[in-house]
Symmetry: C2
Subunit: 79 residues, 2 copies
C-alpha cells in the first residue's frame, strides 16, 4: 500500500499548486475526466478529492460549470 493514498496525494498536490501560484484563485480546474486521465485514477477517487477540498474551502463546485479554486487566505487551516 502507498504511504499516501491517491485522494490525499492529489488533494495535497492541488493545494500546493494554488499556494505556489501555479493555479490561481478563481481559476477552473480541469474536468473530472481530465483529472482522471492526468492522475491515472477513477472518477470516484477524484470525487474524494473534491469532498476533502470542499470541506477545507479550497474549491468551489458548480454543477454543470466546473470546479473553481478559492483564495488560500480563505482556506480552513490550523491556527
Amino acid at each position: 500500500m502507498p504511504a499516501v493514498p491517491d485522494y490525499l496525494r492529489i488533494s495535497n498536490r492541488i493545494m500546493t499548486e494554488v499556494e505556489s501560484g501555479k493555479l490561481k484563485p478563481g481559476e477552473k480546474l480541469p474536468s473530472i475526466a481530465q483529472l482522471c486521465e492526468l492522475h491515472q485514477v477513477g472518477a470516484s477517487t477524484i470525487r474524494q478529492v473534491f469532498i476533502r477540498l470542499e470541506a477545507l474551502e479550497v474549491i468551489n463546485r458548480r454543477q454543470g460549470k466546473g470546479v473553481f479554486v478559492t483564495d488560500p487566505k480563505t482556506w480552513l487551516r490550523k491556527p
Copy 2:
C-alpha cells in the same frame, strides 16, 4: 432530489451531536455497518462522511480500531 445530500446531512448531524454533548470527545462512533443501518445508506456514503469529517478534524480514524470523536475546540472552522 434532496436539498441536502446524505453525506452532508449525516456529517452535520454528527457534528451537532458532538457540540450538544450527545457524543463526547474521545468516544467511538458506531461501526460503519451500524451507521449504514442507522441512516439507511451504503458504506460508500459513510466513507464520504468520514473523509469530510476528517478534513475538518472532527474525527480521528484508526484502522482496525474505530473512528473517534475529537474535541470541538480543535475543529477547523471559519474565524
